[in-house]
Point group: C2
Chain length 468, copies 2
């Protein structure tokens, strides 16, 4: 009886000790990130010394070199570049556009070419405008009303959705497929309202696609600022016959060699089980890509540094992967998954940060219910850091191709309110990132990786201690 | 038996219906705020048409007039001004300061007078510097080492505290009491490191007090930017005998007449039970007081508008109170409580928003456990809006004087990471406020007031329906 009591007391003591350790370790991760973090310093360099990093650009190449060098300084077990061919689209000379109500009476407006669009003819495109709220409305109008016109997609993001990514998801088909659909009906150009919840002067670029549309049906496509979209819509009500002019010089060049940047801490017990943390190193060209996705890259780099600094020796191999070409091709994410499959690498977990460097609120998880339930039990460990959001849902574009049964994919979920003020626009710049918010994100990611590595889940090996 | 079944079914149906209604009503409050809110518009005027609103200033007077006029447009039951005499401290000509390592070899630094400080002599103050980390260290040094010197308080905010208000609370004694304590020991001036977690060039003002120190012991006191505080500290290590010069022209003038601005929706069932929602209309003079506390004022105004727009007829009387003089005197909050007591008004609830217009995370409550537990049960209603923080704690400075047994005091708790980047500094400006974050705060406040008014708490009358 006495022995049994001691056994029981020891068990309680052990559990308490373990719980205490987790709290202390997570506290040290957050403290280290907030007082001695590297993410803001790295982002300063990526944003202010390098700048926008569109795939195939010189800046993208510089970013590969810089981040590889910085990872090498961390004393990881391996750092390497994974070759991947990427598309190269260039904007060329600045775009120009105006609304013309009668010859000589014009109002300049702010546009930018969408990524992947063709140029206008050198002299530009001038045409009447047909405003629609979406692709369905365009199709209902039919060729007769669309042919020879400039199609103006003007469905705004829905302001009363709390998650602004949902509002984005409800609009982005206009940008991605708008030109393809309008081209089929004989339009001569497409203008899309910027995916932005604010009313301001900044046009927001982003990927578009012509699908397999014949080249002769492909038409130039540009984003217009939200303020000018409102203006154009108002002016169309007064002057339905007004004309819109725009000129852009972008072009798609031949693919070029680029790289995913990878660093690894090799696991001490399960070196053949891989956990990935990453963001994408490429960005659009208008700003410097601080939020999208410089933030996710430097946070992911700092995860490995914070693990080391906190004295954590992961059981599994932890890789930071800075993916190339998320924005206009997804080549990096696909290549990483392809190579992992070829090599038979067992990826058990992947976490992406690609929603901006804002205050972290939690994670969304793409995994089985049992693993999700286990992860949710750790919520109390995150409560002191105001991390409260643990939901099933999507993860990240770059890690998506890794998906397979039994694997856990996760996405960091920062506060989303300001994200689309900056997304793909010229104000996605370093000054829009708050140091503490960025660092809290890095600490939150590190803490999750620490816990999953330590305890496993329903699909990931549990630790020997917990098995015994 | 059959009757019993129907009774049971009806009861379940009623409960479901009520819950559904709350969800719908709260959804309509959020939607209305995000798509048709007035708070951002009002803040634009307060910040950009009026500007900083230090108590006793012309701008403060303009703000009283403007907000009264806007409340009158809402069709409330009553709108009035409550007279209150306020102190009037003026900054005068811009401050000037430098570090001098040898005669003629100077480095200019950024300072601002602390609110309530006296001026330097017209020619300024020049003296050797003694750096301390706080008042205790100063006292330990004693008169011998302090007399004739300029005391430099340089204890930084603690970066690894997640709630930045805790970090502020751990430092602000240097600003508030630093000059009083240094004056007692014969110092000739005080320089305080700005209460700011960033390293930047902006000095942050704020209230200081000489307590009942004799006038001849009162010494001028200024804040120095964090970057210049680091510089001064580094230079002192190299040149302990360097001198610091500063000049400021501030003065305390006679009290002037001002007002709290009050609007009321009179309760339909318990008109003699009052619920207050408010912020403070005065601000410091360096910026335009957008976050501190223009945001809280316009959110509070919008609470009454959102209640009306959502078709809610409160059972209790709901008052918006825009308090005057929170920053340097608390006269408005004290006056409101004094008048309430004189009139025997039964205040059952008060909510203040004075922590910036950032994404709301929840509330802290100063109340009995039973009421807190009841309020906590509503957490699931807030979950769709990512409002997760319900904790016991402080409320707000202006509503504090109302405190009495049985009353519930609450403070809106927005994300705190960026607050002290702007607090009391020249960058507390309109552009630092995100429209959606502001509007989410207004909706969150409105939803809490709706629920407390509808259901009561352990200390507030419950509704007839729930009583029966």
């Amino acid at each position: 009886m006495k022995n049994l009591f001691f056994l029981f007391a020891f068990a309680v003591f052990s559990i308490t000790l373990t719980a205490q350790n987790d709290e202390d370790i997570i506290k040290s991760i957050y403290s280290n990130s907030l007082t001695d973090g590297m993410s803001y310093h790295w982002l300063d360099h990526l944003s202010n010394q390098i700048g926008g990093r569109l795939s195939g650009s010189l800046n993208a190449e510089k970013a590969v070199e810089y981040t590889k060098t910085e990872l090498e300084k961390l004393g990881l077990d391996k750092v390497w570049l994974q070759p991947v061919m990427v598309p190269r689209w260039v904007r060329g000379a600045p775009e120009y556009a105006y609304i013309q109500t009668e010859p000589g009476k014009t109002t300049e407006v702010n546009i930018c070419a969408l990524g992947g669009s063709i140029a206008t003819p050198g002299a530009g495109v001038l045409g009447n405008v047909i405003e629609v709220k979406g692709i369905d409305e365009l199709k209902a109008l039919g060729r007769e009303k669309v042919e020879g016109k400039i199609v103006f997609y003007n469905r705004p993001m829905q302001a009363d959705l709390i998650n602004t990514f949902s509002a984005y998801g409800g609009c982005v088909d206009q940008r991605y497929s708008g030109a393809m659909e309008a081209g089929k009906l004989g339009a001569v150009g497409v203008i899309v309202r910027s995916m932005n919840l604010r009313i301001d002067d900044l046009p927001h670029t982003g990927a578009m696609s012509y699908g397999d549309l014949p080249i002769k049906q492909r038409i130039p496509s540009a984003a217009i600022s939200t303020k000018d979209a409102e203006l154009l819509s108002d002016m169309l009500k007064l002057s339905p016959d007004l004309e819109f002019f725009f000129r852009q010089h972008c072009q798609q060049l031949a693919d070029v060699q680029s790289y995913n940047v990878i660093g690894e801490i090799t696991g001490s017990e399960f070196p053949d089980e891989f956990m990935v943390v990453g963001g994408h190193l490429d960005s659009w060209d208008l700003g410097d890509g601080s939020h999208d996705d410089g933030a996710g890259c430097v946070q992911s780099m700092d995860v490995l540094r914070l693990l080391k600094n906190s004295g954590i020796k992961p059981k599994r191999s932890i890789r930071v992967v800075l993916f190339m070409n998320e924005e206009n091709g997804m080549r990096g994410g696909n290549k990483y998954a392809e190579v992992a499959k070829q090599k038979g690498e067992n990826h058990v977990f992947a976490l992406e940060s690609d929603s901006g460097g804002f205050t972290p609120r939690g994670f969304s998880f793409d995994c089985d219910d049992a693993s999700f339930n286990k992860i949710s039990e750790w919520a109390s460990l995150f409560k002191p850091y105001l991390i409260h959001y643990f939901e099933k849902g999507g993860s990240g574009a770059d890690i998506g191709p890794l998906k397979k049964d039994g694997m856990i994919l996760a996405g960091l979920r920062p506060d989303s309110q300001r994200y689309f003020d900056h997304h793909h626009a010229s104000n996605d710049t370093f000054d829009a990132v708050n140091k503490r918010e960025l660092e809290l994100g890095a600490a939150t990611m590190t803490s999750l990786i620490y816990l999953i590595d330590k305890y496993g889940t329903s699909t990931i090996s549990n630790t020997p201690e917990l098995k015994n």
